[in-house]
Amino acid sequence: MNTYSLSILLRRLTAPPGLSGYEDSIAQEVEALWKPLVDQVSRNRLGSVIGFRSGRGAAPRPRLMLVAHQDSIGLMVSGIQEGFLRLTEIGGVDHRILPGQLVQIHGKRTLSAVVVQPPPFLLPPEAQGGSVPLPYLWADTGLEESEVRRWVRVGDPVSFARNYLELGSDLVCSPSLDNRASLCALTLCLQELCSRQPVWDVWAVSSTQEEETLGGAVTSGFQIRPDIAVVIDVTHASGPSTPSHKTYPLGRGVTLGWGPTVHPKLYETFKDLAEKLEIPYKMEPMPRYSGTDADRLQTVAEGIPTMVISIPLRYMHTPVEIVSKKDIQRAARLITEFAATIEIGFMDKLRWEETPKT
């Protein structure tokens, strides 16, 4: 079995565009990477990749579900006029980063294009005087109209051009690091678990469509019915003009979610574990919702105790997302140790103070 370095994994996992709902490219890569690491890999009905690894405990064993979403934000062709393409968004994209952006049109052929902001005199008055909204931007492939019509149709997904860049010794910049950084941590965890003996069953889920509906996690959760779910996602890192009270520094550790989405005893368990392992972390208050797969996962069937672990990421939903490799490593180590050391009777500890003793 090959084990891959973090950098190689990250390169492989950021290369496929895999826009929400159009995830074959990333799902295949995840399947290829996970196949040697788990007992069984399958794709569920909505497209999530599920890896199953049997535990060493006596059956029936409790189930731990580790989830990171595989889909990425992007754009879609919504119209074609005189060879120029109209665009709409998949997931949330700030239109202000689009002018001059290189994109790939995934038509019958993959075409490179540039997003264009027309000069003001070609725009209606309502689109002038500020940022130009997405409905007034174009994508230009540089090809003649007849060629464009041949290869492109309305509905073709459009991804940011791939551009993987290492900045200094620790930071990595690429499109789709939300959430391939977490998929990388999850894959590192599966690699590491190969030499460990978890007693619980581990179900790794590379979930689909998080950026649109959280549909992959909720359906996988129903299918697996885990006793505990741990969601790994990205959170906002501090950077130029970010509010300090909503962001976390790059390279200084992961965040542990705290709020109605997260089971308080799970939070405590992860906090204690992080302290024991000397993994730097910050509590991330999530007063209403987490903005991750966890929000719907916790209400699957009769309810699932859920935890959220996040990797700080700068410039989220742009083509120049930045994460720290150290933070990815930390997230991987934390979930690995949790999965490897969780006791067979752990669920008994996950009690509310008021739960009647039996």
């Binding site: 949330g92 980063i97 001059g100 902001q117 027309p118 689109a127 860049l165 130029p240 970010t242 930045i322």
Partner: protein, 366 residues
């Protein structure tokens, strides 16, 4: 040596020219820091020219032959510099985050979300943008201003205050088009380089590869003084705004009437812009040449904008000047786009016009 008239009788754009343009576009030469392009040009044209000089501002002045023995001296000018930015202040040393200011007319709408390079070591960084999740709809309706943007080297860069920088978009050929940063004006530079390979029976050819065009046509001014030509032809790249009109109100025109130039319609001949009225005798000669040789051409719509002609034609006692441009979309952004056919038309038009330039053209009526 490449002076064989038979081989070179019909200038065309070959794979070799595309490779040269790729090198020129991928080179970084923001106004005031044109060394990389100057070096490339000198290396390539050396076999074809008699003298190369670098003047006080950094212009590369080229004399094709030793003597000015022919009746007319024609100066070709093409600016080497491109728009970009300079790092002006280090805001966070540990994080490698810099403030910057623009050099030349970049529309700030095109900055966010791009990879950039700065300094001699081509240090890679990015210009980011706060996550959409942390913005309000009102915020997103207003433009991102340069005041709020930073170049982020991710803590590892060795970039420093004073470094010039620009986008990293790699050159790419797409069908019959090329897409790159700095097509304005590496296309003009490439054409000027090619013209030096040919003999012109009736004229002395001098070429200025100029600096600092994008910050006010500075290099061309002193180059024209030094070269002291009878006539100047400026090679540049001019915007093609040939996009669909998005206004349906009947008050407004029904089609795009302000395209400036259109891709695929050939060499763009200037009649007048903000800074220059082209010499009508030169315009007439170039139009006649295009028609005789069936070279596609178009008139650049009169209006704003300017080229090196703006300072050249006012040098000394006046120098009759004409600008010819390759039309290009999205100039002054991270990724501009031009047609190879227009590049070729421009090259051929200037070549044939110089071949047939009447020695008494300046004695003829306007």
């Amino acid at each position: 040596m490449g002076r064989n008239a038979e081989n070179l009788n019909q200038p065309t754009i070959s794979a070799e020219h595309l490779r040269l343009l790729e090198k020129l576009c991928n080179a970084v030469a923001v106004s005031g820091n044109e060394g990389e392009v100057r070096h490339l040009v000198m290396e390539q044209i050396k076999p074809y020219v008699h003298t190369m000089q670098i003047d006080a501002l950094g212009n590369l002045l080229v004399y094709q032959r030793e003597e000015r023995s022919k009746p007319l001296t024609v100066m070709i000018a093409a600016h080497m510099d491109e728009v970009g930015f300079m790092l002006t202040s280090e805001e966070d040393k540990e994080e490698g985050i810099f403030r910057f200011e623009l050099v030349g007319g970049i529309d700030p709408h095109h900055l966010a979300g791009k990879t950039v390079q700065a300094g001699k070591g081509r240090h890679k960084g990015v210009i980011g943008c706060k996550a959409i999740h942390l913005t309000t709809p009102e915020e997103r309706r207003s433009s991102l201003s340069i005041e709020g943007l930073r170049v982020d080297f991710g803590g590892g860069g060795r970039a420093k205050v004073g470094d010039w920088g620009t986008f990293t978009t790699p050159f790419q050929k797409i069908g019959g088009s090329v897409r790159a940063k700095a097509l304005d004006n590496r296309l003009g530079v490439a054409i000027a380089m090619e013209l030096l390979k040919y003999e012109y029976p009736e004229l002395n050819l001098v070429v200025a590869f100029t600096v600092q065009e994008e910050v006010g046509l500075r290099g061309a001014k002193v180059a024209a003084y030094a070269l002291n030509p009878d006539i100047a032809v400026v090679l540049d790249c001019t915007p093609a705004y040939d996009l669909p009109l998005q206004v349906e109100d009947s008050f407004y025109p029904l089609e795009n009437e302000r395209y400036n130039t259109r891709l695929g319609r050939g060499a763009a001949i200037y009649l007048s812009d903000r800074a220059t009225i082209s010499d009508p005798r030169l315009v007439a000669h170039f139009v006649r040449t295009a028609e005789e040789h069936q070279i596609p051409y178009q008139f650049r719509q009169a209006g704003g904008g300017s080229t090196d002609a703006g300072t050249i034609h006012l040098q000394r006692a006046g120098i009759p000047t004409l600008s010819i441009s390759v039309p290009g979309r999205y100039l002054h952004t991270s990724a501009s786009l031009a047609r190879i056919s227009d590049w070729e038309s421009t090259l051929r038009l200037v070549y044939f016009a110089l071949q047939t330039l009447p020695v008494d053209i300046l004695q003829s009526d306007r």
